[in-house]
Symmetry: C2
Subunit: 180 residues, 2 copies
DNA sequence: ACCTGAACACCGTTCAAGT
DNA sequence: ACCTGAACACCGTTCAAGT
């Protein structure tokens, strides 16, 4: 169907993102090199520069993918399920989560990251819209599940079953029903 | 006083940690190289291996320093001030904070990290000891301030004054007074 | 013990050249 | 437009050698 040519891919950017995504989760951010990604995609170490201005730009694209996916998994859920889904995402894709939120990337430099994050943030605020200060409740809720995810990933809460631990911790917290 | 010799430092490990700490905060974790640290300390690129088995071990030592410092700043404070002190630490030393908690290091491989973190965790639990499930309240509180710190660092709460924002968010959250 | 320079295998990035 | 190999300046790490 496709003519064989000197171009190895119909869609090299997508192939690079796929390859990089696999390496990311398997070996971590630090071990994710542009040269190896190119090798895995079957192109020269230099070809990626046609599509990503540098290594950081490839990482930013992976992060944006992840934030969008996370936003989709939150949208429309009630608050409690949202929190559990947030932590589940982090536990299932720890390296992706770190890349999205671990300070690896200068968010200000990649507007798509801020955009995707604001969209997910909005989904959260909607879940708290009936409270008197929904923006504070949403900020608190986001902080809570975000910190919980990070600390679980780092192993700071021991080896207990994450599922029930998350439920218990979220159950121990209330967001103010009246103005702070 | 000291005899001039081929040994440049009475305490090379301390000199390396000082040099690395400066580079860490100024240029970030990714830019922190063993070779440059050695250069700054005035020794050959190879000397650090006498004291740190590899780059990761140097990073782990920096992280342990930081966790211990943070623990000292929390200990003995009432819960609300603890939260504010936690976030302040993160905002003042963002790169150090990321190194301590950002998943850069395999915590399981460096027992001193776990030890320092458990000690800080204990300070937190003491502040919640009057509640029916202090361990859940402490986990929730830690998660909350931890996530708040991370998200502020990443700029996800916009440009508002962090000091009052932190106070407002912490004020909007209650930890259950009765068993969950 | 502690430090050294040389060497190796990797990077990210740039460049001039090919189709 | 898209891809290539050669080249450069950096790394982390290992090694044999010096005091």
């Amino acid at each position: 169907m496709c003519p064989v040519s000197t171009y190895h891919h119909g869609d090299l950017p997508a192939a690079l993102l796929r390859a990089a995504g696999r390496t990311l989760e398997k070996r971590g951010i630090g071990a994710l090199s542009l040269r190896e990604t190119a090798r895995r995609a079957g192109v020269s170490h230099n070809a990626p520069y046609r599509h990503f201005s540098d290594r950081e730009a490839l990482l930013a694209a992976l992060a944006a993918e992840g934030i969008t996916m996370l936003g989709e998994q939150l949208r429309g859920k009630p608050a409690r399920e949202m929190g559990e889904a947030y932590v589940r995402f982090a536990l299932e894709q720890p390296q992706r989560f770190r890349l999205m939120f671990g300070g690896v990337l200068p968010v200000a430099k990649y507007p798509e990251l801020g955009r995707a994050a604001r969209s997910a943030h909005k989904a959260l605020e909607e879940a708290f819209s009936e409270l008197p200060r929904p923006e504070l409740a949403a900020a608190g809720a986001w902080s809570l599940v975000h910190g919980l995810a990070h600390l679980l990933l780092e192993g700071h809460f021991g080896a207990q079953d994450p599922e029930t631990f998350v439920r218990d911790v979220l159950g121990a917290v209330r967001f103010a029903q009246r103005a702070a």
